[in-house]
């Protein structure tokens, strides 16, 4: 299961073995349970084996902003391995199965197997690219475009993770969570979703979403998947010569 991760980088057998040998404890996490809390000193990183999780922060006024969503195969909390205190919360979106890896084991791996470290670093960089796009999304797009963009991002990421096909997927978020991810109110999220459906840009049944005309939705969202760096997600051209 941790091996999913190996695909991303051209590692030698030693690297592979070191990854397999990482001490870890697989654990089930209930929906809405905290995986990490802001302000906490954290001593473990973790890999999502199954299910979804999200990162969020809460302002002093009590407003919540979701700053990122993670899916199976994502390595989260690398922050914990290299920084001292968590600056945001990570919470399970659905029931998850998560592999916890002790902080020191990650640090040791990075130092002894720099190629593995670099492969993980790529993850961090892609996460950063997604955060940047979210700043743009929330800062400069209107509600309609904003939600369309988020839906576009999800299909592409889910497809890359093998969890969506033919532009159909289950979005494991309530409209309230969607609102917290887009900086809108649940009421307005609902109106926009209804409008998008009315125009035939999306189809919805419960939390299932289908995009009948990808090009059309892509256009209204102004979506360009460059920032997802999908070429790096499956197989990485490499740190070797290339």
């Amino acid at each position: 299961m941790i091996r999913k991760f190996e695909r991303r980088a051209p590692l030698d057998e030693g690297d592979r073995q070191a990854l397999r040998d990482l001490p870890h404890r697989i654990q089930a996490v209930e929906p809405a349970a905290y995986i990490l809390r802001e302000g906490e000193r954290c001593d473990r990183s973790c890999l999502i084996v199954e299910g979804f999780a999200y990162r969020h922060k809460v302002t002093v006024e009590g407003a919540r902003q979701i700053v990122g969503v993670h899916m199976p195969g994502d390595l989260i909390d690398l922050e914990c391995a290299l920084l001292t205190v968590a600056d945001h919360n990570v919470q399970a979106l659905t029931r998850c199965s998560v592999a916890f890896i002790p902080r020191e084991a990650v640090r040791a791996l990075i130092l002894s197997h720099p190629r593995v470290g670099a492969a993980m670093w790529v993850d961090t960089l892609i996460d950063g690219a997604i955060f940047r796009e979210w700043v743009v999304n929330v800062g400069r797009r209107d509600a309609r475009t904003r939600i369309a963009h988020l839906l576009c991002e999800f299909v592409r990421r889910l497809e890359a993770a093998g969890l969506a096909r033919e532009y159909r997927y289950e979005l494991p978020m309530t409209q309230e969570q969607l609102a917290d991810a887009t900086g809108l109110t649940p009421v307005h999220v609902n109106r926009v979703l209804m409008a998008l459906a009315r125009e035939g840009l999306i189809e919805r049944h419960r939390r299932f979403v289908a995009i009948p005309d990808w090009e059309a939705l892509r256009r209204v969202a102004g979506f360009s998947e460059l920032y997802l760096h999908l070429d790096q997600v499956r197989a990485e051209p490499g740190l070797n010569p290339g």
Copy 2:
């Protein structure tokens, strides 16, 4: 000059030497000149020796969102070393002096000196933390709080970089750029700045900003500097035992 960076991590002499030996070319960059363009295949990383730069993206509708600001000592474009295509623009805010380092040199350094790599990785993680806070800022704070928060972030970062003292600094951004960083319009930024000044929360003369009562501004901004991970910016507790 590159040595500024060394302070951050407990490196051994070999690591230091490797950093000093990094091939680089120091170059002056005019204000508003592009250091990196979205979509470009980029073959070099760079360190800001002097001056300010900012990262931004432009939506299809032509709206610009600034997603980050960098100051002397910041290592930017590490993305270039590990990813293939730039997903955003980096542009000089002021006249800058920048050290360009070839992509391959950075890659080689990371693999041969993992401790140095980890120290740079910390930079990437802190950048990520700042992006997350910007998502919150733009997504869930009103204009007043949003601008106050940005001003708070800048003092603390500038102080950490030795560029501000006693809560006074020169903010090298026009109000239009401030607007693009906060997802507002220049007009509204102006009104909010005037209001903050009228209330005595800030003092302004041209682009110089002074914060007479830090606690007061901090409170209206709901600012907590946890996410800046300032403990990591000066001296890093370390990858060794600790």
